[in-house]
Amino acid sequence: MEITSPRFKQNAREALADPQLQKAMGNVRSGFIDKRQAAVEALPEFDALRDNARAIKDHALSNLDLYLEAYEAKVRAAGGFVHWAETAEDARTVILDICRAAGARTVTKGKSMITEEIGLNEFFEKNGVKPVETDLGEYIIQLRGEHPSHIIAPAVHLNKEQVEADFRRVHDHLPASRDLSEPEALLGEARRVLRAAYFDADVGITGANFLVAETGSSIIVTNEGNGDLTQILPKVHIVLASLEKIVPTLEDAAQILRVLARSATGQDMSVYTTVSTGPRRLDDPDGPEEYHVVLLDNGRSSMLGTEFQDMLRCIRCGACMNHCPVYHEIGGHAYGWVYPGPMGAVLTPALIGVDKAGHLPNASTFCGRCEAVCPMRIPLPKMMRHWREREFERGLNPATARGGLKLWAFFAKRPWLYRLTTSMAIPVLSLFGGRKGRFRFLPLAGGWTRHRDLPAPESRTFMQQWRGREALKQETGGKQGAAR
């Protein structure tokens, strides 16, 4: 996919001016937050589970080489194949080879952000293989030639009228007079169309939420059941997963599952949690004849042992973006690549380079909500700051951000001036300058003081600070040398 992260500010501006998007984003603002809160409150052990989930992943990451070897041995013992892919290109090549060997013309796909990361659909199309997305949201955006705007709700940026128009355009074998005005009708139509695709497919590709070293199993978590139909009906099942999906045991997966669905959608458990091990057995009347796992590195191994290692705990629940005021305003596409929101702001520079994604770590108000809700306790704001520091060191960051960061360092030593700097360090905020009243989680608003790094100075409104921004920039310009 084309990377538009370098145009982040332009993307954000366009998003703010897009009425369809703004309407759709209302569903994020209102939908996810309360559901998560209710599910968390109903489980007194939630925070203890988070601590344990973090400990499990930290342990797995510290011993990743050993667990990968143990996992591989178990997959093979169960009759499966493991393929190691250092880069996106390696992964695409090995997947295409498996598909060619199976004589595949059509491939069904369960929802997988990793296949987005390696640009698998475009690659398939170039090579004469037809990929069919089966998750409803993924299917919709595939029809539109778009990419997911949210890691668990890929079509969250769309309204039902847009989906109806796409279905009428693409499903042109169906009577034009049919009623598609309600989501129920749209879902029913997608279900019927995709049913045929599951049976036509020669290969099914899924991602994995977990890879279990103890048993050589891959685990997927879905609500629709599309991932299951994708993997049990075709002759060949390919699992594409990145290295850090490894957990030691089934019990470890069970711990993390308890925080995953609650953080993602506010469910205690997603509808389908499926543990798959190897190909069909002798007495199995269904299931794939071949089972392949493609283990993707694509930059993860270089994050290990750095200040970004914590990001590898991410279980892709989406809570950080669901609670992010910047994401609420601009949606996922503005981030310009696969991973949006706070997790994307940290992960994207690591995977595609800070030279391309240097704007993203600035897309933060430092309200701290992402870290507060992250089930894996990933210090997202701190890591965004790491990126800004690195970016600054390399002199790669755009002029405004550079100015902002110098101010940051300058005022970090002068807390009473700190409040004035927040709007400077965060150029994206200035985009919203005229949109007073839309911020529920601005820095300086209630919950912020709990999570920020510096003491809160006396009160001035955000808007006052913002207006004073230009003047301040000039005042401090001459002292910037000290910040290096």
């Binding site: 139909l229 205690d268 009347p285």
Partner: protein, 224 residues
């Protein structure tokens, strides 16, 4: 294998490689061997009766329907009644599960029964659960000729027979049973945890039942 060596080499290098490997190996082997349980929520830690009650309540909360019957002999009638109540044809798909096979299906003369994996044309399928989890209202099913996995996903209505004795408090108890039955570190091809009927919220975040899997999940709990 070059990709493999390159990746493992990079991982080792990033982790600081080498000297503590023996200690790490011991820790990893111990964890794989012992599979420690972690935090088990109180919610499901109940006596048998309360646990079953919780299971029913949790399953209903996620839009499954539950019917309790006294014995396996009552199941065929309960199945037929369910089909009638939903205006479905009197036809089901089942696998070779012995507990299901032993039931008095002949008492339901109108009911036609197809055996084996689902071909996608079945309105209703019947499976026997491996176990269940009270904490979350979840069913556990294992693949194989007894209960083909396709029956869990292709029919519009999935009817699951559950022995009340198999209702556990938590997932860990079900996992321990998987180990006992299949062997430590061994698994059936597919272990499905199913919590309610299929659903999607992908259009305007409106939750709709019946996405790609069954529209309805009906649980017949035997005994208890």
């Amino acid at each position: 294998m070059s990709g493999r060596e390159a990746i493992l080499g990079k991982v080792r290098k990033s982790l600081g490689g080498g000297p503590n490997d023996a200690a790490r190996m011991v820790a990893v082997e111990a964890r794989l061997a012992k599979a420690p349980k972690g935090v088990i929520p109180e919610r499901g830690q109940l006596d048998e009766k309360a646990r079953r009650k919780l299971f029913v309540a949790m399953a209903e909360r996620v839009s499954a329907t539950v019917r309790q019957v006294k014995s396996y002999d009552d199941v065929p009638k309960a199945v037929a009644e369910y089909l009638r109540s939903r205006n479905l044809p009197a036809a089901i798909r089942v696998g070779a599960d012995k507990r299901l096979a032993k039931m008095p299906w002949a008492t339901q003369k109108a009911l036609s029964i197809k055996h084996g994996a689902s071909d996608g044309d079945d309105e209703a399928g019947v499976s026997h659960a491996f176990g269940a989890i009270a904490e979350s209202g979840t069913l556990a099913l294992t693949s194989g000729g007894d209960n083909p996995t396709t029956i869990n996903f292709l029919p519009e209505h999935h009817i699951v027979v559950l022995d009340a004795k198999d209702v556990a408090g938590d997932m860990e108890t079900v996992l321990a049973k998987v180990r006992r039955q299949f062997g430590k570190g061994e698994m059936p091809r597919t272990l499905n945890f199913i919590t309610g009927p299929s659903r999607s919220g992908d259009i305007e975040q409106k939750l709709l039942l019946g996405a790609h899997g069954p529209r309805a999940l009906h649980i017949i709990m035997v005994g208890g």
